[in-house]
Subunit: 457 residues, 2 copies
Amino acid sequence: MRAPHTLLSFSPSRVPSLLRQGKMTIAVVGLGRIGLPTAAILSKAGALVLGADINEEVVSSVNRGRCKFVDEPGLPQMVRDQVKAGRLQATTDVRRAVSRSDISIISVPTPVDDRKTPDYTAVKAASATIGHSLRKGSVVVVESTVGPGTVENLIQPILEAESGLKAGKDFGLASAPERSDPGNILGNMATVPRVVGATDPRTLRIISALYRTALGVNVIQARNPKTANAIKLTENLFRDVNIAFANEFSLLFEKLGIDAIEVINGCATKYNFLPHYPGAGVGGPCLTSNSYYLISEGVRAGNIPYLIRMAREINDRMPDHVVELVSEALNEVGKTVRGSRIALLGVAYKPNIKDVQLTPAEEIFKRITEMGGEISIHDPMYEGEMVFGTKVKSIDGAVVGADCVIIATGHKEFKSLNLQILAKQMRSRVLVDGRNLVDPGDAIRAGFAYRGVGRGR
Amino acid sequence: MRAPHTLLSFSPSRVPSLLRQGKMTIAVVGLGRIGLPTAAILSKAGALVLGADINEEVVSSVNRGRCKFVDEPGLPQMVRDQVKAGRLQATTDVRRAVSRSDISIISVPTPVDDRKTPDYTAVKAASATIGHSLRKGSVVVVESTVGPGTVENLIQPILEAESGLKAGKDFGLASAPERSDPGNILGNMATVPRVVGATDPRTLRIISALYRTALGVNVIQARNPKTANAIKLTENLFRDVNIAFANEFSLLFEKLGIDAIEVINGCATKYNFLPHYPGAGVGGPCLTSNSYYLISEGVRAGNIPYLIRMAREINDRMPDHVVELVSEALNEVGKTVRGSRIALLGVAYKPNIKDVQLTPAEEIFKRITEMGGEISIHDPMYEGEMVFGTKVKSIDGAVVGADCVIIATGHKEFKSLNLQILAKQMRSRVLVDGRNLVDPGDAIRAGFAYRGVGRGR
């Protein structure tokens, strides 16, 4: 699709055919775990996709048809196919990509800094670059997770100042936050309804049609971008709060000699209960930061959501609790952390993915190291690679001769640990289960000094 | 069933036939909203039920076949039928009822006092009375909601001291907490699995068989009474915490100009979200106190569950927020609470039931009265009766000539309020919706100065 026709001059009903006939060009800015699948899906749906990233390595890797997210089922193949078909092209030249595109999608990371303040540096930089090259009649879509109001009060002013154009008039601006869980991005993108909010009704209809067509999902039309962003944050905060609730009562139940897992499974037999389980901590780029995007808006509005903040802090303390359980269990066999050989099973922040961003396992690793434990790590996703500055061993390499095994990630491989064999391989039999994978009775019968989060003694 | 055979001497497999053949006598101590339906169901299942209550009025009312819980579908009829059949007999003589029974069920209230400490007075009194008359080989079941450990550490010692018998040996002791929601007690009792924990395996099997047979539900066998009680508390706390989460983000979203209801409904399109809605507050005898049973155990164990406590406090503050919205909305039409005629719609603590225990509506009533508002109340369940020291009016009696209408309970009658007619009946058009029943657009189109919890301006 070339001038004189611009995207906003078309009827929204034409979006499906424009897309399928290859008449739409889309820039995806940021080729990470969300940006890359978004680019591949849009390309597969018929668009010419210009994947823009400031990281040269990422760009050249994509242009060779490579995908580093090997833990995303279907994604490597899809990226390979779309690059091969010439419909997905990566570039470091964001400006040029945007200037050629009908739609520019912002899909850059939005972390928090070490003071837990949202770090919108990448979003601001992307907005400025896009603004510089923005074509009249085109649309900017923010897929990055941001605080409610950030699109209206931060991104829109930058886009308008850089472009000299007016949002909602000269160009469209929409929020369409991704709602996918790492490890199943393609699956989620094709099933979870997409929430879209826009500055104007025409943009809303066009972008709704885009996602409906390209992803094949229902679209939930929010009344504005900030509502769309609020939806995305709130659903993630719901998880964070409920995991914190589970962690909090589990710590108390440990003291009261009650098995929290038995309690949760009992509660789950009631029609209005949704189970969340305690664990070694919450990691990853989403739940660890999303609360703070909302808290930050709360601070500005003079209305701090304390419950949400406390939930975050409870979850942040869980790695320390795991280390306490380690000390306690080692003590049972007359050992200290100092001088013990400790095998840490699992470094990824969640099961069955290859991602250590803000993983609780790292906190456990650091604390055990500080305390003088000799720690070796194993993770099936990372075997032979360097993680936390140390080489990831095979499972046998990690556990043979160890005094204590800590399960820090719920990888499927760890669910089938043979405790009898494990007991024979170890120097002392101490097992701390941070992910409720092992049956406590089995562990005790196999001779382990056992502790599990929420399991008590 | 008479001596020499005691309940514990029978095989659990005989429980269904003993029950159906009318060979089992059960004392239900406490004939409130849970005790009475429990008594009626057990009677209907074939037991001779001796319903014991220290309140003479309750006892004589039941013996006349009356049931004050007219909001419990099916219950008045069932009580009438069972009393008529002679299988349900009420008495104030708890000792005699217990001395004649194979099973004694404790179903007395467990409130919190004004310092939010569990008030186990009724449970202790019932335990002492039961202990005094307890037959060897019989079973005591605690249905009242209590903190985990209360059965083992408070009730069991009283029963043993009073009876001179040993729990788990001479008599059985079990927890089988009710899990029903007022307004649908019979429905819930017949569908929600019953959680049972006991002091010994034999009691566990016998009481499991009792509930399975009499209620027709699955039984979840917990490993001990405290776990059963923890399950009951945790599932209620889950609701309290999630309502507090919704209330907290809704207050912030009001400030940010975001409609919290739109957000929640958007979130509900994700597979792992369970919607809870903000409102005018949480009332009733359960959620307002259950947190404190656990907090109290936490204080004792040196591990206070702060998140749970904060959740409770957030929910407790919601009536004040409703009053703030009233002030704000009245201000919009140039009025103050002082001197305004205010119609409070709904006094019950939840929709479609006749129960004002710890209802948030009372807090709203008090605060408005303190501020000098002339308040009149309407509730379809209470029309013509005295509530909060004032006579409950018809809807017209309450709203005609009013300056402001507050919806404090989500009764079905209020969902179909005709706003056009309401607007004409009122002196000023101010509407504050504490239960998200009214569409804000409809209210504004009907000329109302409107505020809704979570709706912002």
